[in-house]
Assembly symmetry: C2
Homo-oligomer: 341 residues x 2
């Protein structure tokens, strides 16, 4: 029986599906940040023309899908499977965004690691010949997330120094068997790592252990070093989590300071935009990937990238019941070269 | 490029992964119902030894995994990927059940269709050579679901005639490349169907349209008739939804009355147990599959089965905002024969 597994948690994709198209959309704060030129659409309207923030998030996510399809001259009916999820209870951001599209749909929940999970499963679907064209997408919205996880925005609550800012953004990738690329060559499925952090306003620290775990496994499974990559990008660990991961690698004798960054540090200007520890939310890593990173790869700024978004698998109920915050990180290797299988 | 797609939404699995082991666990009501002898474990304790219902649900789900592994002489470390999800916000039932297992984990949200989604993706993973052993599991808990979706159980709210009873149950399947079976031969990925039902106490009617859609697509894609199957089993449509699906097929000139049933009608004795329209919840279809159905298939009571669990992709927020209830149904063909590829 052929197996495409490489080591403990990593899958080598023998046919290396192509990311044939991608799009990122964002809101006001994203449009005021350093990556503003990497978005396909920016909206000043938090409601995206809808009556509620939740409906607005769905509309924003559908816009990301539409832009990605349009850029590849594709229709809804060309997509054979879509993998999508978001932070809202029961993932209504994705459900209502896809309701009228008729695209066969698998719903995911991976918290802020969702883009990594969606992209992994979409890549496996295409690699295995189970779909000719698959989509991966996710979103987050500052106002829906604040209302659900913390307090409604109009309350004007103070944020702690370790807090991160949930991005109002969405990203979508379309994968196919052939195309310009970049290509997905490897997928490392994350496992849950819980270092015992109980402060729900310090998610970066909670998720850093999962990022370090998955990245370490990926490097071991693929027998590569951090220096083999032009860019290693974790999800939304922010300032503190990024520091912890850098320190953990340093303890292993690996200096990642030259090529390791975090989506939560890239999306906003932390100082100018008063973002405390940085950006977060599914839409943070998704829009940084589908704007900044994939554009940069097409321009050959980077040729080999690890994309490793992280998720904090807590809920307000688990926190109220005294549980710590389990983290997870799913990683993919993206390459401009389709490696020989 | 080889493609394993058959028709619009159906994937033919050329290697037909085997369901090498399965287990179902349930609570008090499930133990008082007609399928009580099909469970691997029944608990009279709603808390499963924990301090809260949510923690109890996690423990129950982990028991399902442990039983399934034990029956196949496997350990956590033998499972290369687990696909799991549940009804709780942020899927904490699955997250906390898997926290200490170290199994690479993809989290899903498919409401009550989750077992269909998990089993589909686990089957694709094994079929594609991406995992040698994969697990699919889900759970639901009457008390956690009532508290989250309706009102806390101690309030003693009255239930409407179309209401269903969320099962306190969990099911787990272990899939492998070889083994006794049954085998997963086809997977049909559902799309969202929203017939416009807005009554959150009438989920059966809301989901019936999705079940009819996916089953119709599956039959068309595989060029089969309802009579080609020993059993066609929808998720948890209950009494009303089952009647609607039967009627919709009758309008197409197909009589499914002889071999079509619904997990929500099987798990409980509707009259004796005062279940109104029947059972529901992820754990309903999962435990009926992993108890009653797979045992029956091993005993050759049925040799070819369509398992088609349905999910209502609403949330309390979407209902409060006036949205109707989008439904989805993921279907699989399970067979005692490994069909020639």
């Amino acid at each position: 029986m052929n197996t495409n597994r490489t080591g403990a948690q990593t899958i080598r994709l023998p046919r290396a599906p192509a990311i044939v198209s991608f799009a990122a959309v964002g809101g006001h704060m994203e449009g005021a940040g350093p990556l503003k030129d990497c978005f396909d659409e920016l909206s000043e309207d938090h409601f995206w023309g809808e009556k509620t923030w939740e409906k607005g998030e769905s509309t924003m996510q559908r816009h990301a899908l539409s832009h990605a399809l349009e850029k590849a001259n594709l229709q809804y009916s060309d997509v054979e499977i879509v993998f999508a999820g978001d932070l809202l209870n029961q993932c209504i951001g994705s459900t209502f965004s896809l309701r009228e599209t008729n695209i066969p749909f698998y719903g995911l929940y991976g918290a802020c690691s969702t883009m990594g999970e969606a992209l992994s499963l979409a890549a496996l679907s295409v690699d295995g010949g189970y779909a000719r064209t698959a989509a991966a997408m996710t979103s987050s919205h500052f106002c829906t997330a604040e209302r659900q996880y913390r307090t409604p925005v109009p309350y004007g609550s103070q944020r702690t120094p370790t807090a991160q800012w949930t991005a109002t953004a969405a990203g979508c990738c379309i994968l196919g068997e052939a195309g310009e690329g970049p290509y997905v060559t490897h997928v490392t499925t994350g496992r849950i790592v819980d270092p015992g952090v109980t402060d729900a306003n310090n998610m970066g620290a909670a998720m850093a252990a999962a990022a370090y775990d998955t990245l370490t496994v990926l490097l071991r499974d693929t027998k590569t070093q951090p220096s083999d990559y032009d860019l290693i990008l974790t999800g939304d660990l922010g300032f503190l989590g990024h520091r912890i991961v850098t320190d953990l690698f340093a303890q292993d004798g690996m200096d990642v300071s030259g090529n390791y960054n975090d989506c939560g540090l890239l999306l906003f200007d932390r100082e100018q935009q008063d973002m405390h520890c940085g950006g977060s939310g599914c839409g943070c890593s998704a829009s940084v990937l589908c704007g900044h990173v994939l554009r940069g790869m097409r321009e050959k700024k980077w040729n080999r990238v690890i994309f490793a978004p992280t998720g904090a698998l807590l809920s307000p109920v688990s926190t109220a019941q005294g549980e710590s915050i389990p983290g997870i990180c799913h990683a993919l290797i993206l390459s401009n070269e389709r490696e020989a299988s």
